[in-house]
């Protein structure tokens, strides 16, 4: 490998790139603890007031609870559907396979506003009420392609002879799937759950169209932005979300590496 000693324009580019990427995220906790109501430099003092204010905001807890319910159920459903689709696409040959898989993966590139509006129309036409379930429906639709992409890689990396060996040793297809296939693709399943959970948690457009009276966290935050005096508590909220996401990511990576070490496979890929 060639070592470049002097500062080149590539180094400058890298620094600028990283600043643009992470500076906003770093500013969140800075202003969350700043005592001024105005979000601007210079900083005026240290305070926990904005966090305390959050604790007193009843609708925030409702929105958070809604978002968590939606994200967990979405992650589970999208991962289950993704598992089936990924297994089918890597293990079986069936007519029109390419077309079918392309159709399933389409929401990946479909504008969310189209998904949101069309689902809204369908739900209203069917005479159903908007609820958390309608948001879950929309989120499962957009998350499933991501799950399929992640899980396909896992299934492709899984040697087919493990499943055949299990079957050969007298176990049914179902037992083989539960005892051999699932444990071996577990890292992919964890990644799939995590990704779909994260996508669902901060998804705005579909949630905005399909939420009835129950707002999700992003929808609630969007409502807050209109009131400048609430901006510092928004920073506090953002800080909490940032810390929670980081913890989740680290935990998921830890579990994944643990699994990789146990099976003796190289701990490659993943997020960290």
């Amino acid at each position: 490998m060639r070592t470049v000693g002097k500062l080149t324009w590539l180094h400058v580019y890298l620094v600028v790139f990283l600043v643009f990427l992470y500076a906003p995220a770093v500013l969140l906790p800075v202003f969350a603890f700043n005592s001024s109501r105005v979000v601007a430099f210079p900083l005026s003092g240290f305070t926990f007031d904005w966090f305390r204010l959050l604790l007193d905001t009843e609708p925030l807890f409702d929105a958070t609870r809604n978002s968590l319910i939606i994200a967990v159920i979405t992650a589970v459903f999208a991962t289950i559907l993704g598992t089936f689709a990924a297994r089918a696409s890597t293990r079986y040959r069936f007519p029109w396979k390419k077309g079918v898989m392309g159709f399933v993966m389409l929401p990946l590139v479909l504008p969310e506003i189209i998904v949101g509006v069309s689902l809204l129309v369908v739900i209203l036409q069917l005479g159903l009420n908007l609820s958390l379930w309608s948001i879950i429906l929309g989120h499962v639709l957009i998350c499933t392609p991501f799950c399929i992409a992640i899980l396909s890689a896992s299934f492709q990396g899984l040697d087919r002879s493990y499943e055949e060996a299990s079957h050969d040793l007298g176990r049914s297809h179902f037992a083989t799937f539960m005892l051999i296939t699932l444990p071996l693709v577990a890292p992919g399943i964890i990644a799939s759950l995590l990704v779909s959970f994260t996508i669902s948690l901060d998804e705005f457009i579909i949630a905005f169209f399909l939420s009835g009276t129950d707002a999700t966290l992003p929808v609630y935050i969007w409502g807050l932005v209109r009131f400048p005096q609430r901006l510092p508590s928004l920073m506090a909220l953002g800080t909490i979300l940032l810390v929670v996401s980081l913890c989740l990511l680290v935990a998921a990576e830890y579990v994944r590496r643990l699994g990789a070490r146990r099976t003796g496979t190289e701990a490659s890929g993943g997020f960290l």
Binding site: D159, S161, Y162, E164, A165, S166, H167, D168, L169, G170, R171, S172, A175, L179, I180, P183, L184, R262, T263, G264, T265
Partner: protein, 361 residues
């Protein structure tokens, strides 16, 4: 003769337009070490997978232990398989791997444990029960795969090129261990291999396959001495092919004119495929000898010039140019204490006999 353990009739298998198996019929005897030998793509692995139940034949039927296997899935067949890459489950310990198939059969935990221990002892892996697959060498993984299959006491054990991933030394050691194991447990083994030496040294009988069908099914000795055609003869060991002209039938055989060697009467049993159509003469390298001294005698003698010398320590292989034969003929001589090794360019008298000539289609 007792009822065969496996009887296959007219097994066909097509993948799309490709006919992988073209009406294979054969029988495997109780307790024998049986090998399916052939070049890659000849259908031997497909045939093994049909027996195991991983592939449904397009046509034909199989009886295992007298029971028809139509529609019987792999998990209900009295066969177990050792996979080419062993497929030892990486998320389980060695003991859990061996116990895997037993768990649905034997409810009593102590009994299960006892059988797992026995199986591990049988393959020489006592004390390895708590290890994981990635803590084992290739040879040890193979033993786990063997124990895992044999603990279920299958009617037939299927082995899919189990030695191909091992280095030469370990492979030779495992060959003799497998042979011993098979004698000890008395279970019928069916081995798939592309290595003719492996098939010859280990098997009671070998089926040589080409292009989706069995070309010859015989004991290793018969395969080597009496190959049915030139494909089999060329695949098993080294064989010199020499042009030949059939002169006509005579009492006790057929008279032919072998290029460069002359006229000879070949006994009928040395022309197993008959002498109709285009045929070729085949002579094994060890059937030709260099006559070093005037006192050395042979039934027939010809002259040649040494072209290449390959020295193996115990044996020396010479490529000899003989007038009238286009390609140099390979000849193998055992190296004894007083015997010298010839050099390229040396002239030599070559001895041979009518009993060493095969006529092959």
């Amino acid at each position: 003769m007792s009822e065969p353990i496996i009887r296959m009739t007219g097994i066909e298998k097509a993948f799309g337009d490709v006919r992988a198996l073209k009406g294979v019929s054969m029988e495997v005897r109780v307790g024998e070490f049986f090998s399916l030998l052939g070049p890659s793509g000849c259908g031997k692995t497909t045939l093994l997978r049909v027996i195991a139940g991983f592939e449904e034949p397009t046509d034909g039927n199989i009886l295992i232990g007298g029971r028809p296997m139509d529609g019987v899935p792999a998990n209900r067949r009295p066969t177990n398989m050792v996979f080419q890459n062993y497929a030892v489950f990486p998320h389980m310990t060695v003991a859990e791997n061996v116990e895997y198939g037993l768990r649905v059969r034997i409810k009593d935990r102590n009994e299960r444990q006892r059988q797992v221990d026995d199986a591990l002892a049988m393959v020489g892996l006592e004390g390895f029960g708590a290890r994981h697959s990635h803590e084992l060498s290739g040879g040890q993984r193979q033993r786990v795969a063997l124990a895992r299959a044999l603990v279920l006491k299958p009617t037939v054990l299927l082995l899919d090129e189990p030695l191909s991933a091992l280095d030469k030394k370990l492979r030779e050691q495992m060959q003799s261990e497998l042979r011993h194991l098979q004698r000890a447990v008395g279970i019928t083994f069916i081995l798939v291999t592309h290595d003719q030496e492996e098939a010859l040294t280990m098997s009671d009988r070998v089926a040589v396959m080409f292009e989706g069908d069995i070309a010859q099914l015989a004991s290793p000795q018969d395969l080597y001495r009496r190959p049915v055609d030139r494909r089999v003869a060329g695949f098993i060991g080294v064989m010199n092919f020499i042009d030949v002209r059939v002169l006509g039938a005579v009492p006790g055989g057929v008279e032919v004119d072998v290029a460069g060697l002359g006229r000879v009467v070949v006994p009928a049993e040395q022309a197993p495929g008959g002498t109709e159509g285009p045929i070729v003469a085949g002579i094994r390298p060890e059937m030709l000898t260099v006559l070093f001294d005037d006192s050395d005698v042979a039934a027939r003698v010809t002259e040649g010039e040494i072209d290449e010398v390959q020295y193996f320590g115990d044996m020396t292989y010479y490529d000899v140019k003989i007038d009238g034969i286009g390609k140099p003929v390979t000849l193998a001589m055992r190296n004894t204490a007083g015997r010298r090794v010839l050099q390229p360019g040396d002239r030599a008298r070559i001895g041979w006999g009518p009993d060493s000539v095969l006529l092959l289609r």
